[in-house]
């Protein structure tokens, strides 16, 4: 997928959000923003309640995804346009999730909710009603998702991209600075990982930087070898879904996986190697 296929802008959404076959979806961890006002014709998906298994630490399974899509009135041939707060982190995570379950006609609104708000575009509290569908999902595409044993095996062999903030990467903080700092895990990063914070891929208004800027960021500045496969991780996998989107969809790198276990899993494993401080 290229930038023109994976991204739409606000003008496109204003022109097409009500078209048949287009489903606009706001995805957030905290959906109170949607309830106070959202882009006209958008429905909502709650990152935690709708996309996470309520008991195990894992996604909802294929059947659960099918039920969710069916209940929200999303059909397999619909074009799904995702947007959200937090610079589209959770929307990018949902994008990855749609791809995992075989829904390929999916796009992100560039800049997400932030740019829409900063541009003073229309928001509404009207909730659209969509008739239920009978959605059929594919089994998870294992080529897009990395699990812990694969990550351990990738140390020193593949590109490991830690997209957290420098303070989290070096071990000075255990969570991003808008959250309280927890004490339950070790700080640091996976050995041989390069630190390319997700924020470097975004402009101040939340839009993605240009392809040339992004390529320079990952290859020239961070030293990633685009001849190798890549695994991106962060703390729980949504910031790294943002970077996965950049590498896989915008820069069209063929073998990029998101490690959604990320640091909350890796940093709690017994006996695995951890590096502290700057990248070596």
């Amino acid at each position: 997928m290229s930038r023109s296929e994976a991204l739409v802008d606000a003008e496109w959404v204003e022109a097409h959000a009500a078209d048949p076959g287009i489903v606009l979806v706001e995805v957030d961890e905290d959906t109170s923003a949607y309830d106070k006002g959202h882009i006209p014709n958008a429905i909502k998906i709650d990152w935690k309640k709708d996309l996470q298994d309520p008991v195990r630490r894992d996604f909802v399974d294929r059947v659960g995804f099918e039920k969710l899509m069916s209940a929200r009135g999303i059909a397999g041939d619909d074009t799904v346009v995702l947007y959200g707060g937090n610079n589209n982190w959770f929307a990018a995570y949902a994008f990855w999730y749609f791809k995992l379950y075989g829904h390929h006609n999916v796009k992100l609104l560039d800049g997400g909710r932030k740019k829409w708000e900063l541009d003073s575009r229309e928001l509404t509290t009207d909730v659209p009603q969509r008739p239920a569908t009978s959605y059929q999902a594919s089994e998870q595409d294992a080529t897009l998702r990395a699990k812990r044993d694969e990550v351990l095996d990738a140390i020193g062999k593949r590109n490991l991209v830690d997209v957290r903030s420098p303070d989290e990467f070096t071990g000075r903080l255990l969570a991003p600075a808008h959250l309280p700092q927890e004490q339950a895990q070790r700080g640091g990063h996976i050995p041989t990982a390069r630190n390319v914070p997700w924020s470097k891929a975004a402009n101040e208004d939340g839009t993605f930087r240009s392809d040339d800027e992004l390529r320079a960021l990952y290859v020239d500045e961070a030293g990633l070898d685009f001849g190798k496969d890549t695994i991106a991780y962060c703390r729980i996998g949504e910031r790294s879904a943002h970077t996965w989107f950049v590498l896989y969809e915008l820069l069209e790198q063929p073998n990029v996986k998101n490690y959604d276990g990320s640091w909350t899993e890796y940093g709690s494993l017994v006996g695995v190697p951890i590096e502290l401080g700057d990248a070596r």
Partner: protein, 108 residues
């Protein structure tokens, strides 16, 4: 599940920031918090960003209904940048220390 545990499940930044009362060890945090106003009125649509050396991005929260924001930073000096509709922006220098809540009011 406690509120403190809920913050561990996701990385999202709720409007206004996570309340200090839900932090597992609020007294050990280096908190930067404040409010954004235009005249006497709170600015409830906008974003507060915490930036490091060279304007390196650190964190961002959407403003709360009262124009409020809150960060749990590493100790040090940071730049606080506020973005609001209409191209409004303002920068402030702020310091964070463990066990202290640094308060800042920003006018745009």
């Amino acid at each position: 599940m406690t509120e403190a545990n809920q913050t561990a499940d996701g990385c999202g930044a709720p409007a206004g920031g996570v309340p200090v009362a839900t932090a597992a060890n609020a007294g050990d945090q280096a908190v930067v918090e404040g409010r954004v106003v235009r005249g006497d009125a709170p600015v409830s649509t906008g974003y507060a960003r915490l930036l490091g050396t060279g304007d390196e991005f650190v964190a961002e929260v959407p403003l709360g209904d009262d124009g409020g924001f809150r960060f749990f930073a590493a100790p040090g000096t940071w730049k606080l940048r506020v973005l609001a509709p209409g191209g409004a922006r303002a920068d402030r220098s702020v310091s964070a220390e463990y066990g202290k809540v640094t308060k800042v009011e920003v006018t745009v």
